[in-house]
């Protein structure tokens, strides 16, 4: 009986490449691998947005309207719906002058109860040290 902890660290800008979307979708899909694990074994994923990656967290993304694609915002909502820990680096938000009201902070409209956390980089560093696997994207 063990819990394997994963941290996906998203540092890529959204849309031009699939990197940030893949980070989110892999984190989400990690919640379904338990059917392949032994009874009692768990996988626990969390996500951190750092550097340019904080741009993925802006709300009101209109990717479906313009690209016919599900937005990164939609994937973020799904991670919150699954009660994953979602962290956004405060220093990087400050660097870009992005305020909390510009960010996707919850998924209440789809029944989510977990909120996005704006945290200092030091907290993300601690999370990196505490997990079993670290995945940068």
């Amino acid at each position: 009986m063990a819990t394997r902890k994963l941290l996906f660290v998203v540092r890529a800008l959204p849309y031009k490449t699939e990197a940030s979307r893949l980070g989110l979708t892999h984190a989400i899909s990690s919640q379904s691998v338990e059917i392949y694990l032994k009874d009692g074994d768990l996988v626990e994923a969390s996500i951190a947005f750092i550097g340019d990656g904080v741009m993925n967290c802006l709300k009101n993304q209109q990717a479906m309207k313009h690209y016919g694609l599900t937005s990164i915002e939609g994937h973020m909502k799904n991670t919150l719906l699954l009660d994953m820990k979602v962290m956004v680096c405060k220093e990087d938000l400050d660097k870009f002058g992005i305020k909390e009201d510009a960010l996707l902070m919850d998924a209440e409209d789809i029944g989510g109860e977990t909120n996005t956390q704006i945290v200092p980089y030091s907290e993300i560093q601690k999370e990196m040290e505490s997990v079993d696997h670290l995945l940068f994207c």
């Binding site: 340019d52 993304q61 690209y67």
Partner: protein, 98 residues
């Protein structure tokens, strides 16, 4: 020459763009290039905005990333995909993509 530059990235291409010169230079921000037009880093706007007075950003790519024209630097004009086609065919002799 009249040169149009389609700038599609945020972290690359700036070195090349700074060396380009033309009688008339236009920069069209698309894709992740829109961050040059809509964000500031450490309170500073992108230095690319100093390069020319002919600055455009593709509205579709801007809005897809959660921005509106209200986020734009005042020097940049928001244009539609059709406007970009018109710019390419009517305003510039050559187009490069960075």
């Amino acid at each position: 020459m009249k040169l149009g530059v389609i700038m599609s990235d945020y972290r690359t291409g700036e070195d090349v763009l700074k060396r380009l010169s033309a009688e008339k230079l236009g920069i069209i921000f698309v894709g992740n290039g829109v961050y040059h037009a809509a964000t500031k880093e450490a309170g500073k706007t992108s230095s690319i905005l100093e390069k020319t007075g002919n600055l455009y950003v593709l509205t579709e790519d801007l809005e897809s990333r959660g921005f509106t024209s209200a986020n734009l630097d005042s020097r940049v004009k928001a244009v539609t995909y059709s406007d970009v086609v018109d710019l390419i065919f009517n305003d510039y002799e050559k187009i490069v993509w960075l």
